[in-house]
């Protein structure tokens, strides 16, 4: 039994029960619908600010980008502008490539030629799944903005339309009822999370380096997506009531409408846990990408001086001390000296 993920799985199950029983048995709608969301958002905001400030407080003494392409040197040598950016503008492009395309992760995915045939490596799947996962996540977040806005902005509606572009309306009469169109993002999210999880337990070296903390967010996100899908397609939840609650939250006039359904509270609780957990975990990696000194600095350290805020004077061995020690030998060898 792999203890590493069992702990995380148990934790998520416990959280599920907590919310389920809390609402269903103890009737703590107020707690789960209003208090916890506020606390979670506060923790998220405060936590993210705290972490980012923490990083920002640390100095950047040296300009140490990893140079992944030809430097700019002689005018007739073509530099690799974005893998070894020379100007701040080029750095921005490099960062965009990193953030939007996971450029570095893609470098992993090299096709290679084996006995004349091009073969692909397994590693492409990490890149594909990571991209799929993040874009699905982003889409889901954007779509959820409809719950917090009235009227719903056109952009969000557009995202929604595109997302449910493939209207795989299932044509059997029984299921079709109430299936307005399948959101791709939800399914992709589930699939990608499942892949990332399976990868972590199947590939031995990834399993070896994984910590329990690496499984927790995966289970949690799985839980969120799962309860979301459950609400949407299977256990009917009163969307109008849900929106009443969420709008109440954002307008600081919180109310607990009746008849939302317990799955909603579980879903909301999971999201709250994710929000509160986010700043204190590796999920902060996004902030990291933007601040990473090997990526966000131009490779022009010889052309533009970088200043180290804590540069302090150090003990050195001066030329005078050197000549003092070796003067005779230097003179004998015919080397020029300062003091004869």
């Amino acid at each position: 039994m792999n203890v590493k993920y069992m702990y995380s799985l148990l934790a998520v199950i416990a959280l599920f029960l907590l919310a389920y029983l809390g609402v269903e048995a103890a009737g703590l709608e107020l707690l789960f619908g209003i208090i916890i969301p506020y606390v979670a958002v506060a923790a998220f905001v405060a936590g993210v600010v705290y972490r980012v400030m923490g990083w920002a407080r640390s100095a950047v003494p040296f300009r140490i980008p990893s140079t992944c392409g030809q430097q700019k040197s002689l005018p007739w040598i073509k530099p690799n502008k974005f893998d070894n950016p020379f100007t701040p503008g080029a750095v921005v492009v490099r960062m965009i490539l990193e953030v939007c395309c996971f450029r570095s992760l893609f470098r992993n995915t090299r096709n290679f030629i084996q006995e004349g045939k091009i073969a692909y490596q397994l590693e492409i799947w990490l890149w594909v799944a990571a991209l799929a996962f993040h874009y699905a996540f982003l889409t889901v977040i954007v779509r959820h903005m409809r719950l917090f806005t009235e009227p719903v902005p056109a952009l969000i509606k557009l995202v929604e339309t595109v997302d449910s572009f493939f209207r795989f309306e299932i044509l059997t009469d029984t299921i079709r009822v109430g299936v307005p169109g399948l959101y791709m993002s939800g399914l992709v999210l589930l699939a990608a999370v499942a892949f990332l999880f399976i990868r972590r337990i199947v590939i031995p070296h990834v399993k070896y380096i994984s910590l329990p903390a690496d499984f927790f967010p995966l289970f949690l996100i799985f839980g969120i997506a799962f309860t979301g899908i459950l609400m949407r397609y299977f256990s009917k939840v009163n969307i109008r009531a849900a929106k009443e609650l969420t709008l109440g939250l954002v307008s600081f006039h919180p109310t607990i409408p009746q008849g939302i359904g317990v799955v909603f509270y579980v879903h909301l609780f999971f999201v709250c846990i994710l929000l509160a957990y986010f700043p204190f975990s590796k999920l902060m990696h996004m902030g990291g990408v933007f601040l990473s000194p090997t990526r966000n600095l131009p490779g022009n350290s010889r052309a533009v001086r970088h200043v180290n805020p804590w540069n302090y004077p150090v003990e050195v061995h001066t030329y005078e001390e050197y000549e003092e020690e070796f003067r005779e030998k230097m003179i004998e060898a015919g080397l020029p000296v300062e003091k004869e």
């Binding site: 590939i203 031995p204 070296h205």
Partner: protein, 189 residues
Amino acid sequence: MKLDKLLSQHKNVLIKRWFDEVVRTYPVDTASFLKQQKDPFANPVGNTTLKGLEALFDVLITGMDREAVNSFLDPIIRIRALQDFTPSHATSFILFLKQAIRETLVKEFHDPDVITAFMNFESRIDDLCLMAFDIYVKCREKIYQLQANEMRNTTFSAFQRAGLVKDVPDEDVPGLRLLTPPKNGICNV
């Protein structure tokens, strides 16, 4: 010969089993990397091993030309001689082939001809293992020699050519104390 035919027929399975066994002498996560990474440049250990085993397998069937055997064995042993293996660990992988054959061809062993041929074949495998040991020892010697000679071959010979290493090698030649490994102080301090 029936056994040869059987071996050729099952070549792929046998080599795969053999290779799997060899790879299992590494930690689990390393083993999967050695097996899965097919790029010979990203994974020289796995690919060298696999290629070597394939070639050795053929040689075992077609006859043991000493030179050919050495050329196939050497790359594998050269790697294992450096890694964290005892001498027996480093060379015994040859014997894993016996087990692989026994397990794969277990159904065929009712035929006395096959058994006799197999015993013969086994002694060839044993020979191979002994040759592996020879290579192992040579590699180890090479490592010690490299260790001992590196300084001499590089820095010392440069000094010598420059005539800086006359008869009084120590005091007069600054830096020379660095040349007497392993431990050295600051020169002339």
